[in-house]
Structure formats: C-alpha cells, structure tokens
Amino acid sequence: MSQMSSFIDGEMKTGGLGTLSDGSELAKGFTITGQKDFYGGNHWVTDQKSYYSFWHSVQGDLTPDALDTRTLNQQWGGWLGKMSYPGGDNPKKYNGKDDYSYKPGNIVEYPGMMHDLKYDKMGITGFKGLATSTKAINADYTFVAQELALSLSPGLSLKQRARAYILGTGLGLVALPKTLNALMPLKALTLLPR
C-alpha cells in the first residue's frame, strides 16, 4: 500500500514519472511540443530523440537480456565504417553485459569477434590489457594473421581490404612491445656484453 501511495505521489509531482520503491523512475519521459500551424491550430509533435530513448528504456526493463541495438556499429566513431566488434565499444545487452548474438555482415569483423571471446575467457580488457597482457599474445597474433590474410583476399573490395590491413597492423603494433618483452625479457639485456 505504501509503495502504491509513494508511486501516486511521484505521479502527482512535476514531470509525473512515478517513483518506484527502490527510488528509480518508472520510465524515462519523452518530449511532446505544441506547434501552431498556419491556420492557428495546434499540432503536437513528438521529439524523436527523446522518444527513441524512452522506447529503449521500456524495452530494457521488459527484456534486460536482449541485445541493445543502440550499441551496434559503434566502433571507432564510424571512422572505419560500420563495425561492432573490432575496437573498444562492443555490442551490449540492455543490462550492460556483453552480447555476442549479433552476427556481423562484414567478414572483416569476425577475427575481432573471435579475439574478444578469447579475451573474455582470460578476463582481459581495455588498452592496458591489450598492450601489456602477455597471456593474450597468441590471441593477438591470430587476429593479426586473420586480418592480414583478409587484406590480401582478392574477393574483397579495396575498402574492406584496407580496413582489414589497418586493423591487423594496428593491433600488431600495439601488441609488439609486450611480445618483444616476453621473448626477450629485460633481465636478459643485463647479460649482454657492454
């Protein structure tokens, strides 16, 4: 009863977005504005951006384990075209967990997807993990080899091959210092003749 009462109180406040028992909002709001037309009549116009956000907040509450489609194709700010896996902004579920259910249409993304699954296994994340974690060297060079093989594939467009080349060499360069360090630890340098 008290939950119902506090919910109704919330509804009566400005904004009218009922407050739930845990303090959160029932739903995000969206903006509708009145616009006068040529004849003086009133038109109600829904703001698309806020409505989109509202729709996804409802969808997220109903199906927290479903893929949040807003998180697709977010890699590299679009610099390398629409991509979902190679990079730091992977697809997510509404509840924030990583989601691998999306099968990309772009073959260049598959090595990235496999690479990310291997990183998940090892609990590695971020640029620091990529640049310093020696336990991921095998996964890194599998990615590099696959992307470079795609960059040489005559069946792909020049754009696709360029993307694969950039991704392969990029990750290879980032992983190079840790690889050299793993192959030739700093301790070994002290044994070199001066």
Partner: protein, 156 residues
C-alpha cells in the same frame, strides 16, 4: 611545430582510448591450486548451503550456464548485489591445469549501479564495496569449504 606535435599526441591519445578489447575484463580474480572440477563442486556447495546466496535463470542464460559463467545474487540486510563470475580458461585448461580461478566479470548493486571493468556506471568506491561484499559473503566461505587460501588476481 609545437602545435603539430600537440595535435599528433592528442590524436594518439584519443586512439588509445578507442583501442581496447571491448570485453568485460576482470574486476577481481581468485585463484586456487586445485582443478576446475573441484572448484566448481565447492562453488555449488557454497551456493546451496548459504540461504543468502541464490541463482536465478539457471542454465538458461549464457552468463549463468554453471560451467563457464555463474550469476548469483547475494542478499544480506541492506545488500542485494548481483555478480556474474567466470571460470578462467577453456575446456582444455580445465582438463589439464593444476590450478583454477574464478573472476568477477560483472557486479551490480540493488540500484543497478555497477558493470564490468570494461564498462560500468559506478565509482571506484562503489566498485570496492561490491568486491568487498563478494569476498565477505562468498569467497571467504569458498576458502573455508576448500580449506585453502586463494591468490588474488587483479588483472595487472
């Protein structure tokens, strides 16, 4: 010239922020010198014995299959946290390795504050609070169940 160098450094810094594994990573890991099978059995025992720890959506969820990932809720007084943790490695490692590890992938409090090492909406203090609660109500009991001390893995 200085401006050009500044621009190059800024671009490199921005690129480094965008380069990442894009994965959940590890909030904290706990390693034991036993096989994965033994660790798995102990984990299940701790969950079954403790009325404050329970699992939802068992076996239906990718993140709660019980073999690779487990998602548990810990309830105690004001605490109502959800944790998803994973057994380190793959089938091959689990068969052959003499040690095993679980690591926290995601942690959330009852207000939905939380996330992973990769992405989250929580402060360092909130993250520490979530990890501390996990250790107090789960890892300590796991240590007792196994009669072993764990080695911490912070992913460094």
């Amino acid at each position: 010239m200085k401006f050009k160098i500044f621009i190059i450094i800024a671009i490199l810094f921005y690129s480094c922020n965008m380069i990442g594994a894009g994965t959940h990573g590890l909030l904290k890991g706990y390693r034991y010198s036993i096989s994965k099978k033994e660790l798995e059995t102990a984990v299940i025992k701790v969950i079954e014995k403790n009325p404050n720890i329970y699992r939802d959506t068992i076996d239906k969820d990718y993140y709660n299959d019980g073999i690779t990932y487990l998602t548990i809720k810990i309830k105690n007084k004001d605490i109502e946290n959800e944790y998803t943790f994973r057994y380190y490695g793959d089938q091959e490692d689990w068969k052959n390795s003499t040690y095993s590890e679980i690591f926290i992938c995601y942690a959330y409090d009852k207000y939905g504050k939380g996330g992973s090492e990769g992405k989250g909406n929580f402060t360092k203090e909130q993250e520490k609070g979530l990890i501390d609660a996990f250790e107090m109500f789960f890892i300590d009991q796991l240590d007792r169940e196994l009669n072993l001390n764990h080695i911490q893995d912070t992913g460094q």
